[in-house]
Amino acid sequence: MTFWERIYFPAILNGMRITFGHLFRRKTTVQYPEVKREFSDIYRGKHVLKRDDEGRERCTACGLCAVACPAEAITMVAAERKPGEEHLYREEKYATVYEINMLRCIFCGDCEEACPKEAIFLTKEIVKSEYERGKFIYGKAELVEPSDPARRIDISKRQTPEVLAFKKNKKFKHNK
């Protein structure tokens, strides 16, 4: 230690100068409930079960997401599509029950990646807290996106440019 360090004051005054400088600086705080901080486009928040352009559910209940889930939070029950339900479900199989236990879920995004039917995506929305544990079992009512085209959830930013380009030019095999 030099003499100046030994007598405390230069360092203390220096420190006080720094903190004083911050006194009048613009505050970094984002006043959360009123102002929302910008989320990244690929933020992994609440899930959504997408519908296709015609408003049919894309999920085919293959179960890959449930297998891929490290938290074992996804449960589904598959059923065969009956004639006359083509306007509801895109594939021949669909999930009658699709539940995600949001308390178990760790939002790792593995389900989104595992899905071969671009049915499940994570969104920028956050999952709200609740008073009861039971309310965290999100069923299809909470997960499936609204069929109203105006209230669709845009997930195009989560997809790679390659996928987007592909979608523009080609028809999906399963979109027939």
């Binding site: 179960g63 449930a66 074992e72 996804i74 449960t75 589904m76 236990n101």
Partner: protein, 164 residues
């Protein structure tokens, strides 16, 4: 330091007790008979040509199908020449006893306790061999293959849908 040099020296010193040697893996590894494992590690640490002075890792392993199911794996590191070596030793289920290396490496203390905690391998001469991570009153060794992973009290899961 060449592999062959280590192999020569080790075989010269412990010819009978080296059960297996593996040079194909990323790290030169030996399987040593359990009674001499302390001597081997002591030799590796203290011999001036070997000088493996750093115990990188120590952990247990359990092969339920083998004759000697419980194993201890040591990873040693010669920091001056940057050479790693892996020593393994296996013991029976009934008498899982290996002599401790805490006298050589202080770091082995907790790692051996952890191995005891997980696999029930008893390190003879360890100063304080008791459970470290789990609760004291636990009556099984959880990482042995026969014990399940899951907490049996969990209620909000239905196993039928996961295909595990």
């Amino acid at each position: 330091m060449e592999n062959s040099f280590i192999i020569d020296k080790l075989y010269k010193a412990f010819d009978q007790d080296i059960l297996k040697m593996d040079t194909s893996s990323d790290v030169l590894s030996f399987i040593i008979a359990s009674p001499v494992v302390h001597d081997v590690i002591s030799f590796l640490k203290n011999d001036e040509n070997m000088n493996f002075n750093f115990l990188t890792d120590l952990c247990g392993i359990h092969y339920p199908d083998r004759g000697l199911p419980l194993g201890v794996v040591y990873h040693l590191h010669n920091l001056t020449e940057n050479k790693r070596i892996r020593i393994k030793t296996f013991v029976t289920m009934n008498e899982p006893k290996v002599s401790t290396v805490t006298d050589l490496f202080s770091s082995a203390n907790w790692m051996e306790r952890e191995t005891f905690d997980f696999y029930g391998i008893i390190f003879e001469g360890h100063p304080n061999l008791k459970r470290i991570l789990n609760v004291e009153y636990m009556d099984f060794f959880p990482l042995r293959k026969e014990y399940p992973l899951e907490d049996p009290t969990r209620e909000d899961k239905d196993d039928r849908y996961f295909g595990r």
